[in-house]
């Protein structure tokens, strides 16, 4: 239990509960109305999926800033497919969008892994390139709810046992990726690569393949987020998901994934996404003016990074101090003589 409490994720979950608790005390409808409960679960669903993908990339000491543009492209692609090929089953449309996202992620990953250019620069570039493709393709065209099948749009609002479908999708994504990261060899290697890229090479780990995999996964999840976006909002223009990458990176950092790679969990990133969006919704309810709402989010991100540094320093200091105490010259002269023989 104490191990659980000491974990970083527990702190974020606690913060989330406090925010919900305080806001509900002021405005009971925030949680206790049926719409309130639904919004609490539904609003973060898309950001959670994006944050899970981003966390995997950040753990390898990289970053993918192009996810917002990938979301925009795949959301538009989803709508377009429904218009051009109305007979395609929804599942196939979703899979095509996810695959498209994976390909876009793979492009990022290839440049990072083979050209060895920092991911920050590459994905900043593809952020504009992908958005440019979306703009050229869509123009001022907009896909409306009328263009998409009713059953697809229903996924955006429907609930199963009181839980929104999109939330279930996000939860499944989180569970699968978290399981992989913790229990699969590939997952541990992603941590190793982020922890010390040079040592990973020296160990003979398949660094390039793992990086490609991480970026492809991040892209695929951005593609899935695009599908979710289309279902949820019913209208898609070329500007879908504009600027969401910063929210995603913020969520990942708030969730305790170290920006220099190697540590943190996807569950933390998902909680970070929930915390950010819940605070966003809670502040106006509590009556805090718009300016301060943004400031609070900013403070949260800076606070999370500062906390990371403090915790990391404390830890390395503690480990170093331990080393000082348990290393007296433990072997007597007799030992040495024998060894020196």
């Amino acid at each position: 239990m104490s191990v659980l409490l000491r974990r970083r994720e527990a702190g974020i979950a606690l913060a989330l509960l406090v925010v919900i608790g305080v806001t509900t005390a002021i405005q009971p409808g925030f949680l206790l109305s049926s719409g309130g409960f639904r919004d609490l679960l539904l609003t973060p669903a898309i950001l959670v999926v994006l944050a899970v993908g981003q966390a995997v990339v950040v753990i390898t000491r990289n970053v993918d800033l192009s996810v917002g543009s990938v979301l925009g492209l795949t959301a538009y692609l989803t709508g377009r497919l429904f218009i051009e090929a109305p007979d395609l089953p929804i599942v196939v449309v979703a899979l095509v969008a996810v695959a498209a996202g994976a390909v876009l992620g793979l492009v990022n990953g290839s440049i990072v892994a083979f050209a060895r250019v920092p991911a920050l620069v590459i994905t900043l570039g593809t952020l504009y390139v992908y958005r440019g493709i979306a703009l050229t393709w869509a123009g001022s065209d907009r896909i409306d709810a009328g263009d998409m099948p009713r059953s697809f749009l229903a996924l955006g609002t429907e609930q199963v046992l009181g839980i929104p479908v999109l939330t279930i999708v996000a939860a499944v994504v989180l569970a699968v990726v978290a399981y992989y990261m913790y229990t699969a060899r590939g997952g541990r290697q992603l941590y190793a690569i982020g922890s010390d890229p040079d040592a990973a090479e020296l160990q003979g780990l398949p660094v390039r393949r793992r990086l490609l995999g991480a970026f492809a996964l991040g892209g695929a999840l951005a593609g899935l987020a695009g599908v979710m976006f289309a279902a949820r909002y019913g209208t898609v223009s070329s500007g879908a998901g504009l600027g969401i990458e910063l929210q995603v990176v913020g969520a990942v950092v708030v969730g305790g994934v170290a920006i220099f790679g190697g540590s943190g969990t996807v569950a933390g990133a998902a909680l970070g996404a929930m915390l950010l969006l819940t605070i966003n919704r809670a502040l106006p309810v509590v009556g805090i003016p718009d300016f301060w709402q943004r400031a609070v989010v900013g403070a949260l991100i800076i606070g999370a990074i500062a906390l990371d540094r403090v915790l990391a320093r404390r830890r390395s200091h503690r480990l170093a101090a331990e080393r000082d105490t348990d290393q007296p010259g433990e072997d007597g002269p007799a030992d040495r003589e024998e060894a020196n023989r």
Binding site: D196, G204, G329, R336, A339, R341
Partner: protein, 505 residues
Amino acid sequence: MQNAAPTLRLEGVAKSFGPVAALRSGTLVVQPGTIHALVGENGAGKSTLVKIVGGVHRRDAGVVELDGEPVDFSGPAEAKAAGVAVIHQEPASFPDLTVAENIYLGREPLGRFRRIDRRVMRAGTRQLFRDLGVDLDPDRPAEGLSIADQQIVEIAKAISLDARLLVMDEPTAALSAVEVRRLFAVARGLRDAGHAVVFISHRLDEVADLCDTVTVMRDGEHVSTDAVADVTAGDLVRRMVGRAVADLYPKVPSTPGEVVLRVEGLESTGTFHDVSFDVRAGEIVGLAGLVGAGRSEIARAVFGVDRYDAGRVVVGGRTLRPGDPTAAIAAGLALVPEDRRLEGLVTESSVARNVSAVSRRRLARLGILLPDAEARLARDWSGRLAVKAGALDAVATTMSGGNQQKVVLAKWLATGPKVLIVDEPTRGIDVGTKAEVHRLLSTLAAEGLAVLMISSELPEVLGMADRVLVVREGRIAAELSRAEATPEVVMRAATPGAAGQEGAA
């Protein structure tokens, strides 16, 4: 021994890094079921040879065969797959992963659904540690492990590979006597099971104790291979050095003046403790010790690059502000760092730019650098140090290690320091230039400069220093005069678990 192919055969293997030939003609034949020692001075090419065998570097020329089959590894993974396990000199652990994860990385035991079986992994790690006789928690993160413990983790990792060839590059440098003995027991067990082991060490007593065959290397070339029983330690040393020691260490006598640098009770948690010493004008003080003992860290703290928790540094009577290299330079300190490419040079810049890097303020009027003044300064110092560069605007990357080191020295000497701290001044430098650097340091000291010299090469410390301070696990373990400092005494003071007799100085 029957006529089976040797486990490892290298012949005429060469490797150069830019203009520096690290390995000219590496030859090594290791039979199965033997422990083969590889000895030679630092810079003799042993580690380069090991890295070629381990797939880290690719050879430029020569033959490498495993069990009679020619091999050419394109990466460490291939070498590992071919049954070669290497413990490199610098441990490569992942600080964020646990000890057990570090050992099994990439080949974790899998349970159902290809999921990592942490129970098996933990038990395996415990078993490995039991064989090695160490007490480490498999679940603790690798961050914060001491150098010795990191080495243990590397050894456990290599042993668990069950490779046909195990190469250990100075595995005992940071280990205590007990740990060394256990490691030897494990190595003998591997030998008796028919594996081949290559053992690199500077300690000839260990070679005599453990190994069957010994190969000597010097200046990147094979010198001799003999059965250990047929050679004496004296023979080996002569072959390793291969030249008169006096030429390499031209020591100019000088009379120490007043104390210029005084360090009192310097303390940094986990790194070094209660470090106090003086350096006088005209004196070369050697800082000896094992790799990882904390020598470079002490130098960095004295110079103000790293912070310290307690103590003070006094230069010429003035106490320096901690963590302020600018103040240290102003007070007359200069630090020639260990890694000249990383910390000493702007490798993409010209010689002139590099030489003037710290003196720019003096060379500028109204904040604008005067090119003439810069060129004059660079010409002066390059001339005095005999830097061999095509021109002053040659880019530093194109020069040999020795010349690069001279440029770094010139840079700091141009600031007119009172105290010069040099960290591994001749690492990776060929023998001729080495002697030049030594002559230079000696001359500077004779002119009244105080020199604090960190070196892992014992002959260098003993040949150059007026006084030797031995650092062991972050403490000054002994202070020896030039007459007292024999290799024996210094090594004894530097090795954890070997002291106790002489006590702290």
